[in-house]
Amino acid sequence: MRTRVLAVLAYAGVGLTLAIAILVPFYLMGALTGVMAHAGLRVDDKFTGGTVAQSFVHEGYTIRVHEAVWPRMLERTEPFVQIVFEPVSALPAQVNEAIDLDGDGEPDVRVEFTVPASAAAKMHGNVIALNEGYESLRNAGNESFSRMMVRVGDRIVVRVPVRDVARK
């Protein structure tokens, strides 16, 4: 009797497995994708740059300053602040901006770069720290996740290393 019940359950399970197989492309894959997408997960700030803290709107272009990203656990990335200049098409040929990164009304760094002529052109520029909470970058390129000045699509992304003294 037990053997028979087990066999019935086993074949019921197989039926369910085959039903799942049929549903995968039409429903299940999308449903599982939806569950994943709404699970409240986010891509690591090391890649995204973190949450936008403040924006400065200039004539035709915007500067977005993100919140500082601090490493967790034994993460090897240095702490940094991401600054985004967009759109590239509206930027002046030479950018030289003093920017307040921590929202205290005082500029913390000066960012200077020449806007690259094409999307593929490698760009370089400087970041000059105006107080001890940040590190200067000379001839910055794409050194690491926490030290960079790169063009990504229609944005110029600058990441400035933060020192521990800037931690609130």
Partner: protein, 394 residues
């Protein structure tokens, strides 16, 4: 005294043509449904690619039905998948970014296609910090359709249906190894397998634990950054300093050793058997999947032919004596096809071993081949379409 040679006996086909065609019909319809969207897209290459792969998958399934064997037909598909996947993938990388390497600006733009191998490493950081330590995007975007959520959704759905058989029906990386393992007629390092096979069996589990812990601690997918042999033929971080140069050297050495040389010399999938942490992780799905391979102890004569044929060393003398495979069995069917006594059988958990094994095989294959057609088939179609675009007279 003249020796008398017995006339060669033609082994009868397992099933009649009509019955085999009838059993293939559902898979033929499935292939049509899967590839119809591609046929509706503009472009003749795409139509040819989709139609060719639909026919290819249907014919292979028919051969499985007609001959009653699984391994060699599955292997044709799987090796094709392994060797054609990089063609389509590399072509798309070159078309989008002009190189196989990922510059740092690409990583921060969320354009990196998600690879299922990362999955065990993202779980702990996701649980602890709700953070995904992969430079992709959660939802599909025009520049990255292979988003994290979409690929995990796909992998999870397929794994529910086939369990660890993902490694023999879905993993395009495994297809490359199986291809190299199939080249030589016999194993040249048979002693290596006999000596190291059982000793290294738990290595993938050790690597799995190591990379899961280290990835959570360092908040980066350690296996992808340092140990994945398949970076060599997919995408890799752009070499920009000593660290990335060392990473690249490790990828190439592991690929040459574990994916090309050792499979060729041992006729085993050595990367899968001795190294792959994702394969170890995927083995856990065998616990919930209803299909398995078992050994009918009344028929088994302990010849260990099945053990010799198993490509991932998922059998031991002890496990055969217990009538079971090890947890890492990927249900490729090599042992069943090799067994001369019909002792190795397909089995549905909860039923008696050896009772209607062909029914168990059929039911498994319907699920498994449906997933192979949907996932691997679409990759094949894409690669065939890409290759047609390279034809000199185009």
């Amino acid at each position: 005294m003249a020796s008398v040679t017995a006339p060669a006996v033609q082994k009868p086909a397992f099933r009649s043509v009509g019955r085999s065609l009838l059993l293939t019909l559902p898979m033929a319809l499935w292939a049509m449904v899967m590839f119809t969207p591609a046929l509706r897209q503009p472009g003749r290459d795409g139509h040819i690619g989709a139609a060719a792969v639909a026919v290819f998958m249907t014919v292979l399934f028919y051969m499985m039905m007609r001959t009653g064997t699984t391994y060699r037909w599955r292997r044709i598909f799987f090796v094709a998948l392994g060797f054609l996947f990089p063609v389509g993938f590399i072509a798309s990388l070159i078309a989008v970014r002009g190189t196989m390497s990922i510059p740092i600006e690409r990583m921060i733009s969320g354009d990196t296609p998600y690879c299922f191998m990362v999955t065990p490493m993202v779980i702990v950081p996701a649980a602890l910090f709700r953070t995904l330590i992969f430079p992709g995007s959660i939802l599909p975007t025009p520049s990255n359709p292979h988003s994290i959520a979409a690929m995990i959704g796909l992998w999870l759905a397929v794994s529910l249906v086939v369990g660890k058989a993902w490694c023999s029906y879905g993993c395009f990386f495994g297809g490359i190894e199986e291809g190299f393992a199939a080249v030589a007629k016999r194993a040249r390092l048979r002693r290596f397998v006999l000596h190291w096979g059982s000793r290294l069996r738990l290595t993938p589990w050790a690597i799995l634990i190591f990379i899961v812990v280290l990835s959570a601690a360092l908040m980066e997918p350690v296996y992808c950054a340092w140990l994945c042999p398949f970076k060599t033929i997919t995408e890799y971080p752009a070499v920009r300093d000593v660290e990335t140069a060392i990473q690249m050297a490790i990828f190439i050495m592991l690929f040459a050793g574990l994916v090309v040389a050792l499979p060729f010399l041992t006729k085993k999938r050595t990367q899968c058997a001795f190294f792959c942490p994702f394969g170890a992780f995927q083995s856990l799905f065998n616990k919930i999947n209803l299909f398995e391979i078992r050994f009918d102890r009344e028929k088994c004569v302990d010849c260990t032919l099945c053990q010799t044929e198993c490509p991932t060393i998922a059998l031991s003398k002890e496990s055969i004596r217990e009538g079971k495979t090890l947890l890492n069995c990927m249900k490729c069917g090599a042992c069943v096809d090799a067994c001369k006594k019909d002792a190795a059988v397909w089995h549905i958990k909860g039923t008696r071993v050896g009772v209607k094994p062909e029914r168990a095989r059929l039911l498994f294959l319907y699920g498994g081949w449906a997933m192979a057609t949907m996932f691997g088939g679409s990759i094949l179609a894409n690669s065939v379409t890409t290759m047609l675009g390279f034809l000199p007279w185009k």
